[in-house]
């Protein structure tokens, strides 16, 4: 079950990378986003980072944080954004 923040994140990802065939509330918040889960790739990650910077003012940078964990799942990405959002 997704929290309201996780649902918002799922919707942002679906719109950002054009996964129109997936319903936000069908996503398991702990599912992997890349490779085996939603099957996103690095360009999707870049696209999602653009949307996160526009919507929340969060700058995603791989060098100062553990990027693989943050992008691990909807749950971890939501937690990171909630902790770091500027607007």
């Amino acid at each position: 079950m997704l929290t309201p923040e996780q649902l918002e994140m799922a919707q942002l990802i679906i719109e950002a990378v054009n996964l129109e065939d997936i319903q936000a509330d069908e996503i398991d918040p702990e599912d992997a986003l890349f490779t085996n889960g939603l099957g996103l790739d690095s360009i999707d990650a870049l696209e999602i980072s653009l949307e996160l910077s526009k919507k929340y003012g969060v700058k995603i940078k791989s060098s100062d944080v553990n990027i693989n964990e943050i992008f691990g799942s909807i749950a971890s990405l939501t937690a990171f954004v909630q902790a770091n959002k500027q607007n």
Binding site: D21, I43, L46, K59
Partner: protein, 461 residues
Amino acid sequence: MLSFLLNSQSPIELQRLWQSTPFIYRETPDHSLTRWEVFLAAEQLSKTVLNIHSNVKYSALLLFEQRDYFLVGLLATAMQKGQVILPPNLAEATLENLKNDMPELSVFGDNLPKGLHNQSQITSKLIDEIFHAVKKNPLPFDQQRMTATFEAIKKSEIWLYTSGSTGKPKKIIKTWQHMMYSASLAIDRFQLMEPCYIVATVPNQHMFGLETTLFWPFFSKASLWYERPIFAEDVISALSNNSIEPAFLVSTPLHLTKLLAFKLKWPAHLNRVLSATAPLSKTLAEQLESEFKASLFEVYGSTETASIASRQTTVTEVWQTYTSVIFERLANKRYAVKTPGLKGSQILSDQIELLEDHLFKLGKRDSDLIKVAGKRASLTELNTHLLSISGITEGVFIQDPSTERLRLFVTTSLTTSDILRELRKLLDPAFLPRPITYLKALPRSEVGKILYNKLLCKRPS
């Protein structure tokens, strides 16, 4: 074979370049590596770790994304007279096939995918320990040993995979000799024998990445950022880490377009952008040049030939080949290309219009071959995979020209998650369809040919 490197400078200059000039820049200056340190680390790895495999032909699957680990693995495997395998993707089926062909496959990488858990593994930790040992105990530069080694490994193979028009992944075998000859032409073209700095967003495992992040800088005076930055902030910080001018950003049209959208301030010493793997429009090239305040060059090539030509897209649509690249005219407007180091000649998969010996325009590409995010696949192959899924009545992949992503049109009772789950087992994520459109039947002409123009008008369900 190394004459292009050796002739252009005195022994003292060569020693300075190899032994004292930073080559791969890492987070802090202490961690930067010189060419000689990379060479010594590869020697060490080859002697102490890889030697145990002397009974079988050594095969190494190189998964490292980081440039320094990858290069050490590449060179150490060659020193071991082994072959390097660069996988087209990490899908289960791909890995299964590789293991069937080469059960003894060693894997260079951390966090291995499930299918590779039982293979022998070389981790980044081990290579870091070797770097540490090499830095602690630096051996003096030995030009003779260096040149003898490159002479000895010239026949060593690097296997890359590309999609053939028949639909099955095709193995392309490159030798160090060809890669080094080819690098010498590009080094000449982009004046890399002058100090410069390269940051690249392309992976080591594809031809353009292999050339621009390994062979070009290793054998020139270009230095290199150790990571493959994806996010905009990381690309900027990688560029800012080093003030050597000119700085090159090596990327793809898709990645560059996304970077543009961030509206960031780009470092002033970035004055060359290289793009390859897909065509770039003149409009986009103009936007990129004005945003980056840099000259944008497109590079043309293929896995078979490596890069052979370039153009500054805002200035001309005509491609200029590197020196020593020769075209041979065949029937049907086709050409074969010959370059130094390339065995025989290679037929180009694009149609070209030859204007003068070294100048040409590009015609149409075989429509079966598509590229998404720099990765090449054949639509025939993708459709074959699709139809291998039980429960799919009929279906086709089509590339959406506006997003570059693939759309799938399908007749099936399977759900979207069923289809995606099955496709994930078979394909690289880049080729997963976005979106999927369900149809009662594919629109076909009287003779049964699929009507693609009708398909593209259909809305996703």
